[in-house]
């Protein structure tokens, strides 16, 4: 019985989102666990978004933007990188294993790389198991695949 992690990806519109589009156009298969949220630039990412994602049931988070020196807005990705460097220290303190968060640079032409990032992050989070450090009110939906190969949706209720 395998646990299927739920991963949220905060990506920048100009590079990674377009790179993910290219992966789609090229029909590159990848793990279905990642949900992309589009932002204009990684510089827009508030570290609270990442915390919120974990609080709402994500098992992992991907942050991805333009390569250094290539940011569409010149310097947004540098701010994101600096913010993230500081945030990593805070993450352990608040109980999130830093391995659950992947930071990557994927350009608009790197469809293949995006697929690698997705697959790698999914495997990594799968090995770490479900994120249960934050109990949360409300319903959390997760997926399990039964051993007989049948896909089944299992709803877990938390109070």
């Amino acid at each position: 019985m395998g646990f299927e992690p739920k991963i949220v990806a905060f990506v920048c519109n100009w590079c990674t989102y377009t790179g993910a589009d290219l992966a789609g156009t090229s029909r590159i298969a990848m793990a279905p666990n990642v949900r992309i949220i589009r932002l204009p630039c990684t510089g827009r990412i508030d570290t609270l978004f990442i915390l919120k994602a974990f609080e709402r049931g994500a098992d992992g988070v991907i942050v991805s933007g333009c390569h250094p020196a290539d940011c569409h807005y010149t310097s947004g990705n540098y701010h994101a990188r600096r913010r993230f460097a500081v945030f990593r220290e805070l993450m352990e303190f608040v109980g999130i294993d830093p391995l659950r968060v992947t930071f990557s640079w994927v350009s608009a032409s790197e469809g293949g790389k995006w697929a690698e990032v997705v697959n790698r992050a999914t495997e990594q989070v799968r090995r770490l198991g479900p994120f249960e450090t934050y109990p949360r009110a409300g319903r959390r939906v997760s997926y399990e695949r039964r051993q007989d190969g049948e896909n089944a949706k299992v709803r877990k209720e938390y109070l």
């Binding site: 156009t25 298969a29 279905p32 204009p40 709402r56």
Partner: protein
């Protein structure tokens, strides 16, 4: 409560084969706030769009979510459809169910669940979307072109012929740039000045072009459509309105031994001079550093040491008391075409990363010259009347060795890039040399031959086959003066042997670099540049003539090494961008930009610090009585590009990026 309409597209088989669209529509229809949820085969088609428009009107929708392809594909299409049905276009968003879902997964169950999640993110986000309207900024429909070389001239002519006024600023006394110094141009061997000077005259006579020669840009303020430019008109010491270009002043000047910059030091000029006979404008300038009268003044001498030019001038145009003056102009767009300089072969370099060539004598060997100097020797209007003669003794060189890649492609010397034109002009030089000195021997030491343009490789072939230039693949380790000749010690890697030649002249094909002082000009324009001083384009593939500063465009060699046809093409491209910008009276901008809540803004200005565009301005916040409470930030609607770095940085969350506010993003994340 929201009234959101959800429209799931099958996209034929593209989405429908993998994602159960009907179930997605059904599932999203159950989300609170969604009042209408359907699926259809082709949402972007006319009947598909009609479904949306009809639903907007019948169901009085206040939000539309289209689950289909990537928003990069059809966001504009659906926004237009929504707008035509009376719904603000920014209340319409797309969920990417194709590129990010159906095309990359195979399991129908998992793909459908993912599609429902992706749709739900957008549904929850759109509940916090605000209606936004296009921002209109007025445009001053006049352009500024900085630099009067071939690129600047072409841009100015194209913009002016397009019906708009142009101001052309050139720092030298005449326009024309380096192209006016060339003898003949590859691959046609056209006489350079013959094809250039008609354009120069056209610029001077064009009713829509105002030419400020011997002038520089002092400061630039404002933003796209509304720049204020201050231009410094340097003092020529000659009244332009009176001078008629007769040349008597130059004939009378007693100081005739000043090395001429135009002749690259191979010839002399007078203290009051016009750089070359075909100069535009044909008005002289006094070089105050060398003029006897001004040197006297600098020493404090009361009586004028010399005044021969003023006496010779029949129009009383000489004005020894003239000073720099300033002009301020309003323009809507700026084209930068400041050109290049060559890597100096001397010891003094103006950049720390350049090492110079000690092994080639640091420029102390008189018959070792660079490409532009060879052009002046070959040019019929040059210091030797077009005869190739050695600078040391004026004799004809019977053996000339050309060295390619001097400075270029050489990390040890500070430059890794290729200068693009040298392979071509060295081939041209061997041909010019052969045409003038039939029994002369030309040898070329090369690493590669880069001749990629139209007719270019055929041209190099001609140099080898018709002009009998001998091409040796290898580099030269040293140049030494032996008697009256230069011993060239090199390597021929194809035969594996060292080569030693006693040459009468050596021509170094030195690297093409950005102009000195480019950093300060770039900073005035808020344009970024690389470690070599070349200005940065907005996107190397798809936006080669724009910069990341809206309204500022680049053309020619100031952006990267290139030849004349590419510079001309680029200049015309900037003109088309400028004319496009000027085609409307008001500039339209997408309203997805930042906005400051002045009441909660504390005035820390972290946003100003991180904004890559300088779009944050400081404004006074006043109370009802007009007293200043504090300074607060305000985002300039013309400059902000909508990255959102300010919002992520703001400690009080007072600045919001419309279209991607915190509320919207948190709503999407909460939908997990």
């Amino acid at each position: 409560m929201s009234r959101i309409g959800v429209f799931i597209c099958h996209c034929g088989e593209n989405i429908g084969r993998t994602v159960d669209c009907a179930r997605v529509a059904q599932s999203l229809g159950a989300v609170p706030g969604v009042v209408h949820s359907v699926d259809y085969k082709y949402m972007c088609s006319d009947p598909g769009q009609a479904l949306i428009k009809q639903a907007i009107q019948e169901e009085k929708l206040d939000g539309v979510v289209v689950g289909a392809c990537s928003p990069h594909m059809h966001e504009k299409t659906f926004r237009k459809a929504a707008a035509s049905a009376g719904l603000n276009p920014y209340l319409c968003e797309m969920a990417n169910l194709r590129e990010h879902c159906s095309w990359i997964h195979e399991d129908r169950e998992l793909a459908t669940e993912k599609a429902i999640d992706l749709g739900r993110f957008i549904v929850e986000k759109i509940k916090f979307n605000r209606p936004l309207s296009t921002i209109f900024i007025p445009v001053e429909r006049r352009a500024l072109v900085i630099g009067g070389g071939i690129a600047g001239i072409q841009a100015a002519l194209d913009i002016a012929d397009g019906g708009r006024d142009v101001i052309l600023v050139e720092k030298e006394s005449s326009i024309g740039g380096h192209m006016s110094q060339l003898s003949e141009t590859f691959p046609t061997l056209d006489c350079s000045q013959c094809i250039l000077t008609p354009r120069m005259v056209e610029v001077a006579q064009h009713p829509r072009i105002r030419l400020f020669a011997y002038s520089e840009v002092e400061s630039v303020e404002g933003y796209i459509g509304n720049f204020q430019v201050k231009i410094r008109r340097k003092a020529r010491s000659v009244d332009e309105t009176k001078c008629n270009g007769c040349g008597e002043c130059q004939k009378s000047c007693p100081n005739r031994k000043i090395p001429s910059e135009f002749e690259q030091g191979l010839g002399n000029r007078t203290a009051i001079y016009v750089p070359f006979p075909q100069a535009v404008p044909n008005i002289p300038v006094i070089d105050r550093a060398h003029c006897a009268l001004f040197r006297g003044r600098a020493k404090g001498v009361k009586k004028a040491v010399c005044g021969k030019c003023a006496e010779a001038c029949g129009r009383k145009a000489i004005d020894f008391d003239q000073e720099d003056s300033f002009v301020t102009e309003k323009v809507g767009a700026i084209v930068v075409a400041t050109g290049y300089q060559l890597y100096s072969i001397g010891k003094e370099q103006d950049s720390e990363i350049l090492r110079g060539y000690g092994e080639y004598g640091y420029g102390t060997i008189p018959d070792v010259i660079d490409g532009l100097q060879f052009e002046r020797l070959a040019s019929a209007s040059g210091p030797t009347g077009g005869k190739i003669l050695r600078p040391s003794d004026g004799k004809e060189p019977k053996t000339i060795v050309f060295l390619q890649c001097i400075g270029s492609r050489d990390r040890a010397k500070g430059i890794e890039y290729c200068s693009k034109i040298c392979c071509m002009y060295v081939a041209k030089h061997t041909m010019l040399y052969h045409h003038k000195i039939h029994d002369g021997k030309a040898l070329v030491f090369y690493m590669d031959i880069r001749s990629g343009g139209k007719g270019y490789d055929e041209f190099v072939r001609r140099a080898i086959e018709e002009s009998h230039a001998l091409y040796l693949r290898g580099r030269v380790s040293s140049l030494k003066r032996i008697g009256g000749q230069i011993r060239v010690q090199g390597m021929d890697t194809l035969s594996g042997e060292t080569v030693s030649i006693d040459a009468d002249m050596v021509v170094l094909a030195t690297a093409m670099r950005a102009q000195p002082g480019i950093a300060s000009l770039a900073q005035k324009l808020s344009v970024s540049y690389d470690q070599h001083g070349f200005l940065n384009e907005a996107h190397p593939k798809l936006r080669p003539v724009e910069t990341n500063t809206a309204g500022v465009f680049v053309a020619g060699t100031c952006q990267a090494p290139r030849d004349i046809p590419d510079s001309v093409a680029m200049a015309s491209a900037t003109a088309s961008k400028v004319l496009g910008l000027f085609s409307k009276e008001l500039l339209e901008r997408e309203p997805l930009i930042a906005r400051v809540d002045r009441l909660t803004c504390t005035g820390c200005f972290h946003c100003e610090h991180v904004c890559p565009y300088g779009a944050v301005e400081r404004k006074e916040l006043r109370d009802a009585r007009g007293r200043v409470i504090r300074m607060v930030a305000e985002v300039n609607q013309g400059v902000c590009q909508g990255c959102g770095t300010c919002q992520a940085t703001c400690p009080s969350k007072s600045v919001e990026l419309d279209g991607f506010t915190d509320e919207q993003i948190f709503a999407a994340v909460n939908a997990l």
